[in-house]
Structures are given as structure tokens and as C-alpha cells.
């Protein structure tokens, strides 16, 4: 390494370290123990830049016996000691520790947010030997060379680091909740023999409760009928639809009376009203908004959006994505960004158009003290994959739209009397596109113009229609709407919400893109609700969340918050202990039922009352399909292939109506109808 003195710069990720090093001066890379570090000679001095791999330390149980609970004695440990798969972390710690010995000073250049601050703090404290309060802090929102140089020119010491304290407290509280509840649930399950890891985290519990609650509403939903009455009208050869003013007619007889009362009559325009609507531009993206929009337009899951956005940030193409802000301060340099974007052909026309007027963004209410909203840096993108290109385009187009003018639309509404019944027609047209022209690919402003209507106009009634409809159940959550619910309820953080949803999938509590709660989820939530409702209570989670935030503001101390959270937790654990037996039997039954449900391949096409199920013969050991209504007299059965895994395709054969299954033996599953007399089999036979 350098013979003379240098500043040791600690970064969060290798890509960031590389960019930071190149911003500081001439770079030489060296490899120690498979760890790359950068030696930099710059105008301001010498630096050694090294990178972590996210967190190098984690909170862990001090006790030797790792299955007992309650656990309250915890400490920070190197990740490689806790997780054997993280051997590289051990090398990293060794290298950074040895580099710290020759350093004259230290710089924390991790991402400027609660997680970045915690990562940097732990490295400076544990690896560099208590340097957390003397280290300098480089704060930046983009990895552009210009901003990085400026950040290093303005570094300041960070002696009272509340952000890191809050981050560390959050890790401790989440670990205590996670480890204790998981052990309590797992032990409860295993108390009657067998083993299954059941986990519930501090934010996981209430989030799962949202899904289960919605699932109940859907499964309990009885659709109520209603009728909508409409008339097809004509004026000067232009046909348009009018709807009866009462959207939902609750009785069939009433709807039929309306239709009868209108039959053979003409329509008379009674009132015409026009309204000009000024539609403001969208607000700049914060992480939540970006995740919702990427889900809406591309179907990206929130965690995928975060991953792709981070990769764009590390390429210095966009600003730091883990932000709550919906504001774009002038200090980000609007003109510099626009000049950069002007170099890209696909944005040139729009950028030139926007540059003809003063640049003033339309901003939202939400703010973040650490970072502005997400914006493109104006650097030229290179080598982006498909997902990166799509997300980048969405971010650029949103950025441009934010600087656009209001869109102006006209809404026309007319009341038309047919017989003695009042109908309404409405139309919209765009007068000025405004910001929509910059965001055209992602927004639709459909026009449905009407002919010129004036009071007293007589309109021909071409036809009348009475349509039977049914009330709809609430929609299932998808990843985006579940994330929105978590945001609305104030649980989790912008950085962790997507990960919590992923965990619920991994634990088998939820399935599908249109999210369904599994039987196990029902059982866990049921027991919690009955014996320890605070674990799944949004209020309690929010309270802990607020307490953690108050550490950042200096209102509460770390020990106060941890103590408070631990007290809540202890009460919940005692409540759960009482329910151990019930929990065990409920979850066992749920597991058994889930496995049994997996063997059902569809409704029995013969008796239509039972289900066809995969059964293994006790005598021969061979598997076949049989009807669950055997006791009710149905003897339907069919042979099955004996090799490979069989999975229901959840659809019926087009020719005979029997269920279809996939036989998975090789990479390419074989799809068959289970009916031995299906015409498809005869066709095959002829061949």
C-alpha cells in the first residue's frame, strides 16, 4: 500500500468504490486476499478506497443454545461467523482492518441513509478500531464524478450519528422480534414431534394479517345483483351512450319499468354543463411511487424495481433511489441534466420543447432530509439490459413530465330525459396536452367526444338496454397494492417493505401474483389474533416505528426504544406460550390440508360433487386418480403414469371435460388428460 499517509475511504458496494476512486484522482487497483482496493493519488491527497458488500456485521444471539427463547442478550457479530456462506466477509474484514492501521484518517462514503450509515458506522467501529466518531462523512445523492468531488471537498466529521444509532436500534429490535417469535412458533409446532420453521417478524405479522383479512373478505363475498339501464342515442348521425342517472338499480322490476317507460320515446336534452379541468403534472418519483408505477406499466415487482434502480444508480445514471422525497431542488442543476438528456435522440425534441420555458418542477408534499426525489443525472447510458432501459426511460420521462405545463381537458355532461326518466351522457376531450406529451408512453388520456348538444335538442333513441350486473369483491392484493397498504399504515421502511413481501412468499404464507393467503397463513394469524393480537397489530408496529424514528430526531435514546420494544415482545411471548398446543395442532392440520389440496386435480366430471384426487394404492403402491365422493357412491377412477411428478394444470380437457395434469419427468413436462377414454388418446392410438 502507500508508504505515506492516506485517508481510508469506506464504501458500501464495489461498483460505488470504483466510481468514487475514479472521481478522486488517478487510480491504481490492487488485490489482497481476493479483495480489490483502489489506491488514489489526487489533488487533495492520497486515498485508499475499499468496499463492503452491504452489511459486514449483524445482530446475533450471544447465548450458546440457539433454540431457546426468550433472547434479549444480543451483540453485533461479523456476518461470516453467523453465516458460513459469507466467507468473503471474513477476508474483507481482514483487509480493511489491515488498511486501517496505516490510515491517517477515515471517510464514510456509504450511501447516505439509515442502512448506509449503519454499514459505515459498524466498519469504522469494529473493523477500524473505534473510528466512528472521528471519521469524515462524504454525502452525495448521485455517483457522478462532479458530485462526488464536491462531496469530498465538503466532508465534515459526524461525531453524533443519530442516523446510525437509529439504524442499529432497528436491527436490534427486528432481530429480537424475529428470533423470539420464530423460536416460539417453531417450538410450539415441534412440541408434538416433527419440525417446521415458522417465522413472524415485527412488520411481517401485520402485513400478513392484511392479506388474510382481504382473503376472508373475498372468500365470504356474496355478489348482490343490480341492473344498469342505458340508452343508445343519435344526433346528426353521431351515436353515443347515455346511462340512467341511478348507476345501480337495485330491483329487476324497477329496471324493467324504466325500460318500458322509455320504449318508443325520444330523448330531450334538459341541461348541458361544461367543465374545464386542469390536470397538474405528476410529482417526481420517490422510491414508493417508482415501485407502484413500474408495477403498473411493466409489471415489475417492488423488489425487482429497487434492484434495477440501484443498478442504474451504481452506473451514475440516476440519483439515489431509496428516497422518500418528491422534491427536486434547483441545486441538482436542472440545466446540466437537460443538456445531458439532450444528447439522447429519443428525448431531444421534448427537452428542447421544455427548454423554451423557465424550468420549474411540480413537486409533491413528501420530503427526505438526506436525498432529493429520483432523477436522471444526464450521463449517457451504455450497455443497459432490457429492464434497466425500461426503468431508465420511465424515470427520464417522469422527470421531463414534472417540468411540463398543466394538461387542460374539457368535460361535457348532459342530462337527457327519455319519457319521465333522466339519463346522463358525458364526454371528455383534451384541449392542451401539457405534461402528458412527455409522459405519453405511460399515460393515456382517452377522449370520447360528444356531438354539439344544446338544451331542448331532441335525440333519437336507437335502443335501450337493461344489463344485469353483480357487486364485485374487493380485489386481491398484488405486490404493488400491498406495498401501498404498508406505506399507508406506516409500517416498515421504504428500504425494507419490498423485502418483507418477498419473505412472506419464501415462507409459503402467500402465493401468486394476485396474492392469496395459504392455509398456514390462516392458522398462524388465527392463533395470533386469539392469543397475542399485538404481534399482528398495526398500531403496535407503528408505535415501534415511530419510536425508532424519534432516535433520529434525538427525542428518545436507543436504550429507551429497545427496552420499550422488548417489554411489548415479552408480553406477546408469554401469551403465545399459553397457546402453544393449539398453535401446534392448527398449523399441523393446515400443513396436512395444504399437502392434501396439492393432490386434488379438479372436480369429478362424472358425479360433479367430489374431486378427482391422486391416491396411492396401499396394496400395489401404484398411484391412480379416484373420486373423493367414493363414500357417496362415485366409483370414478383412472390410471396415472407411475414415473415423474404430477401437477394439476387447473384446466379441463377441451374434448372430454376431465381434468388435465402435467407429468414432470424431464425439462419438458408432458400434458395429459386423465380420462382413459378421452378422444385425444384414441387420436394418439391411430397415429
Amino acid at each position: 500500500m502507500f508508504d505515506s499517509e492516506y485517508l481510508l475511504v469506506v464504501c458500501e458496494k464495489p461498483d460505488a468504490a470504483k466510481r468514487i476512486a475514479s472521481a478522486l484522482g488517478s487510480v491504481e487497483s490492487e488485490r489482497f486476499d481476493d479483495v480489490v482496493v483502489y489506491k488514489v493519488s489526487g489533488e487533495r491527497g492520497r486515498y485508499v478506497v475499499c468496499a463492503a458488500l452491504g452489511h459486514l456485521y449483524t445482530v446475533w444471539d450471544v447465548a450458546e443454545k440457539k433454540s431457546s427463547y426468550p433472547v434479549f442478550d444480543v451483540s453485533w457479530y461479523p456476518l461470516n461467523l453467523v453465516d458460513k456462506g459469507k466467507r468473503r466477509v471474513g477476508n474483507l474484514i481482514k483487509v480493511i482492518s489491515s488498511l486501517s492501521k496505516g490510515a491517517k484518517g477515515f471517510v464514510n462514503a456509504c450511501d447516505y441513509d439509515i442502512e448506509g450509515e449503519t454499514i459505515g458506522y459498524n466498519i469504522l467501529r469494529y473493523v477500524c478500531g473505534g473510528k466512528e466518531s472521528v471519521a469524515l462523512r462524504a454525502k452525495f445523492s448521485t455517483l457522478t464524478l462532479e458530485e462526488l468531488r464536491e462531496a469530498f471537498a465538503k466532508m465534515s466529521p459526524n461525531s453524533i450519528n443519530r442516523l446510525a444509532e437509529a439504524g442499529r436500534a432497528r436491527h436490534v429490535v427486528d432481530f429480537l422480534w424475529g428470533v423470539n417469535l420464530t423460536r416460539a412458533l417453531t417450538q410450539a409446532y415441534s412440541s408434538k414431534g416433527g419440525y417446521r420453521t415458522l417465522s413472524v417478524g415485527r412488520v411481517q405479522g401485520p402485513t400478513l394479517a392484511f392479506v388474510v383479512e382481504r382473503e376472508c373478505e373475498i372468500r365470504w363475498f356474496v355478489p348482490t345483483p343490480f341492473w344498469s339501464v342505458s340508452a343508445l342515442l343519435e344526433k346528426d348521425g353521431f351515436m353515443f351512450k347515455a346511462l340512467y342517472v341511478v348507476d345501480k338499480v337495485e330491483r329487476l322490476a324497477e329496471a324493467q319499468a324504466i325500460e318500458a317507460g322509455c320504449r318508443g320515446k325520444e330523448g330531450v336534452v334538459k341541461k348541458v354543463s361544461k367543465q374545464i379541468i386542469r390536470q397538474h403534472p405528476p410529482t417526481p418519483f420517490n422510491l414508493g411511487d417508482l415501485q407502484h408505477e413500474a408495477y403498473r406499466v411493466f409489471g415489475f415487482s417492488p423488489s425487482l424495481t429497487l434492484r434495477v434502480a440501484e443498478s442504474l444508480y451504481l452506473k451514475a445514471l440516476i440519483s439515489y433511489p431509496r428516497t422518500s422525497s418528491q422534491k427536486l431542488p434547483p441545486s441538482i442543476g436542472y440545466h446540466k441534466i437537460f443538456s445531458g438528456l439532450q444528447k439522447l435522440e429519443q428525448y431531444r425534441v421534448d427537452v428542447n420543447d421544455l427548454l423554451t420555458k423557465p424550468l420549474k418542477p411540480f413537486e409533491g408534499e413528501e420530503d427526505d432530509p438526506a436525498h432529493p426525489a429520483i432523477y436522471p443525472t444526464g450521463e449517457l447510458p451504455q450497455g443497459l439490459d432490457d429492464r434497466q432501459s425500461r426503468l431508465y426511460d420511465l424515470i427520464v420521462r417522469r422527470f421531463l413530465a414534472v417540468f411540463g405545463e398543466y394538461a387542460v381537458r374539457e368535460r361535457v355532461s348532459a342530462d337527457v330525459e327519455i319519457g319521465s326518466y333522466l339519463f346522463r351522457v358525458s364526454g371528455r376531450r383534451t384541449i392542451e396536452e401539457g405534461w402528458m406529451k412527455y409522459y405519453r408512453s405511460y399515460v393515456s388520456a382517452e377522449d370520447n367526444p360528444l356531438p354539439l348538444l344544446e338544451e331542448g335538442n331532441r335525440l333519437k333513441v336507437i335502443s335501450l338496454d337493461v344489463a344485469e350486473r353483480f357487486e364485485q369483491p374487493p380485489p386481491r392484493y398484488n405486490q404493488s397494492s400491498l406495498l401501498a397498504k404498508m406505506e399507508k399504515e406506516g409500517i416498515g421502511t421504504k428500504a425494507t417493505r419490498a423485502e418483507i413481501i418477498d419473505t412472506l412468499y419464501q415462507r409459503g404464507y402467500i402465493v401468486g401474483s394476485s396474492i392469496r393467503a395459504t392455509d398456514i397463513a390462516f392458522s398462524v394469524i388465527e392463533v395470533m389474533k386469539e392469543y397475542s393480537p399485538s404481534i399482528i397489530s398495526t398500531e403496535m408496529t407503528r408505535e415501534v416505528e415511530r419510536a425508532l424514528e424519534s432516535i433520529e430526531r434525538g427525542v428518545l435514546s436507543v436504550s429507551d426504544v429497545i427496552e420499550k420494544a422488548a417489554t411489548h415482545l415479552l408480553t406477546s411471548l408469554q401469551e403465545l406460550k399459553v397457546a402453544e398446543e393449539e398453535l401446534s395442532s392448527k398449523v399441523r392440520e393446515a400443513t396436512r390440508a395444504s399437502l392434501a389440496a396439492a393432490d386434488i386435480i379438479g372436480e369429478c366430471p362424472v358425479c360433479k360433487e367430489g374431486y378427482l384426487k391422486i391416491i396411492r394404492s396401499k396394496k400395489s403402491g401404484k398411484r391412480f386418480v379416484g373420486c373423493t365422493n367414493y363414500d357417496g357412491g362415485c366409483r370414478t377412477s383412472a390410471p396415472l403414469p407411475q414415473k415423474g411428478r404430477i401437477k394439476s394444470l387447473n384446466r379441463r380437457c377441451k374434448l372430454c371435460g376431465w381434468p388435465m395434469v402435467a407429468v414432470i419427468l424431464t425439462r419438458y413436462p408432458w400434458r395429459i388428460c386423465v380420462n382413459p377414454s378421452c378422444p385425444t388418446k384414441k387420436e394418439e392410438g391411430k397415429l
Partner: protein, 75 residues
């Protein structure tokens, strides 16, 4: 005692678990609304229609199927 329709424990007088019991109650309430909407509809017709509707909840369909079977057996 097990629920007549699933693996859960039954605590109700109808032999149903909490979820199916709630569904049974909703099914009965729903029938009142349907009777009002159609100026009377037979219970069998109501249940048959529900079973055809994609909007209808899973637990409702399960109790509707059971109820339909019961009515048919009675007649």
C-alpha cells in the same frame, strides 16, 4: 368435531368451522337481498346462480353446494 367442509375444528351448531359458519350466515343474508332484487327467487335457483358466478367467494360456494345438496335430498 371437524367442520363438515374442511379440516378445521367446528364449534358451531351447523357443524361448521368459524370460516364456513360465517359464510353460511352471509349466504342466508345474501338470499334476503336476492329475494328483494328479483321480487322473489327460489332458494335452489339462488344457490345454483351463486355457484356459476366467478365473483362469488370460495367459502360461500362451498356452503352453497352443501345447502343445495341438503335441499335436494329433502325433496
Amino acid at each position: 368435531m371437524k367442520c363438515l367442509l374442511c379440516w378445521r375444528e367446528s364449534k358451531s351448531k351447523y357443524g361448521l368451522c368459524f370460516y364456513h359458519d360465517e359464510a353460511y350466515r352471509s349466504l342466508k343474508e345474501g338470499y334476503q337481498r336476492w329475494c328483494r332484487a328479483y321480487d322473489n327467487i327460489s332458494e335452489v335457483k339462488y344457490l345454483e346462480r351463486l355457484l356459476e358466478l366467478p365473483e362469488c367467494g370460495e367459502w360461500i360456494k362451498e356452503v352453497a353446494k352443501m345447502e343445495l345438496k341438503r335441499i335436494k335430498e329433502r325433496s
